[in-house]
């Protein structure tokens, strides 16, 4: 198992291998992401029972929670990819880190917007300075910082390294930001899903949510793979194998 992982890791470092391998994955990933999104949304929007307090407005949870989860884990993935680049100088990791940033920021924005739309009917206001909203906003700022820094650097190598360092500093800071704002102010309902506890939701409501989370992650994987393939084509454009692809 370990040997296999090491080999896979070494292979992932090869742009050509990645490009050819993902060629086959794209179709299935798209199918799985699209299919599970349809199933999750239909179940969630049409079949899940309405909430006894929030009525139908709670259904936005099927977009909100997956986006918020993904925004956080995307940051972590970006930082880890950045660390891999800093330590082993793996070009692929740098490209992956670079392409994740805008996608993660987009999901962060979606989480904030859907949260605002959800907040209006339930709390009666678009925005409150609540702990989780604030920490998501800070996460968005961290994403913006990484993107702005990468863009400002003149040399490509420096932009990757600088982005990776900032992402890592941000990664250490995320839990601190989270706990500090939580101590500061909390109005948000407690987390819907916790790994350590039995879910408090009705299964009919929970299943579509879990399906939507899986679907969002699949979609994220698809987008990141597609964007990474673009990066590969651009950076390897002078290589023989890329020329062959582009000519055909």
């Amino acid at each position: 198992m370990w040997q296999w992982l090491v080999r896979l890791y070494h292979r992932l470092g090869s742009p050509k291998w990645f490009y050819e391998m993902t060629e086959r994955w794209i179709f299935w990933l798209a199918l799985a992401a699209g299919g599970s999104a349809i199933v999750g949304l239909v179940l969630g929007l049409l079949y899940a029972p309405a909430d006894y307090q929030q009525g139908d407005s709670f259904r936005i949870i099927y977009i909100h929670v997956p986006a918020a989860l993904l925004a956080q884990s995307a940051y972590m993935m970006m930082a880890v990819a950045g660390a891999v680049y800093l330590i082993w100088r793996m070009k692929m990791a740098a490209w992956v880190a670079k392409v994740i940033a805008p996608v993660g920021a987009a999901f962060c924005l979606i989480a904030l917007l859907t949260g605002a739309i959800w907040g209006k009917p339930t709390w009666g206001t678009w925005w409150v300075w609540d702990a989780r909203l604030t920490s998501m906003l800070m996460l968005l700022f961290l994403y913006f910082g990484v993107m702005a820094l990468q863009q400002a650097m003149e040399s490509e190598e420096a932009s990757y390294k600088a982005g990776a360092i900032l992402a890592l500093v941000g990664l250490v800071n995320i839990p601190i930001i989270k706990y500090s704002v939580e101590w500061w102010n909390t109005l948000h309902q407690p987390a819907t899903l916790k790994l350590t506890e039995k879910p408090s939701m009705h299964p009919d409501m929970l299943w579509p949510l879990l399906i939507m989370i899986v679907s969002t992650y699949l979609f994220f994987a698809l987008v990141v793979i597609l964007r990474t393939r673009n990066e590969i084509l651009w950076h390897e454009r002078k290589r023989q194998w890329v020329r062959k692809i582009l000519e055909s």
Partner: protein, 222 residues
């Protein structure tokens, strides 16, 4: 180590001979704090409620203002290359630079804060909390800021970018420090918040010089 000591001494001497370097952020601190009563409400009762937060926000902005130039001169005149070539630990070097920055920004701000407290009608009980929170909190700002300064040192318009990178990282310090001052003002215990600030300082002391050292090397790979 002698190189670090020499650099720290040189930078402090430069700051002493060029008073603008440490005086301008101080004036900025004073002016920003003076804007709030004019813009919001000069009523002492209202001011005493927000004064702790206002002073902290002003201190944070003033710290950011002086960060931009932390490494710029060293990158431009080639000192940075000499440090790298000397094989001296960049960890110690960035720690030393952050210390210098704190001496010319955080320390004067801390010493001047009671004056602002008077102007903004800070509750009497909160003076010590303000002082101690600034004394423990501003070094964290300098240390975190040094990472941003190292990342943007070779960029032409690094100043604004630096603030964008660093401000979100300052949020925890701001929250705990402002909360310490507020709680002291209403007569509650604030040692928990100060302890958290101390923990952040310990963490920042241990970790940020690594990031700043790694970021410094980037400025040569242009």
């Amino acid at each position: 180590m002698s190189l670090v000591r020499a650099t720290v001494r040189r930078d402090l001497l430069l700051a002493a001979r060029n008073p603008g370097e440490w005086a301008n952020p101080l004036m900025f601190f004073l002016m920003v704090a003076a804007l709030f009563p004019m813009a919001v409400d000069p009523n002492p009762e209202f001011l005493s409620k927000i004064s702790g937060g206002v002073i902290w926000v002003a201190a944070l902005l003033a710290t950011l203002l002086s960060l931009d130039s932390l490494y710029r001169a060293d990158v431009e005149d080639g000192s940075l290359e000499q440090w790298l070539a000397s094989g001296e630990s960049l960890y110690a070097m960035s720690l030393g630079k952050a210390l210098v920055h704190w001496c010319i920004s955080g320390l004067p701000l801390t010493l001047m804060s009671p004056l602002l407290g008077v102007m903004l009608h800070l509750p009497e009980d909160a003076y010590f909390a303000l002082f101690i929170s600034l004394a423990v909190g501003t070094p964290v700002l300098s240390l975190l800021g040094a990472v941003g300064a190292a990342l943007t040192a070779s960029l032409r318009s690094g100043g604004l970018l630096l603030t964008l990178l660093i401000l979100p990282l300052y949020v925890p310090v701001l929250i705990f420090a402002a909360s310490a001052v507020y709680h002291a003002g209403i007569g509650m215990a604030y040692n928990g918040q100060v302890a958290m600030l101390g923990a952040m300082l310990a963490l920042a002391l241990a970790l940020t010089p690594f990031a700043a050292g790694a970021a410094l090397k980037l400025n040569l790979s242009r």
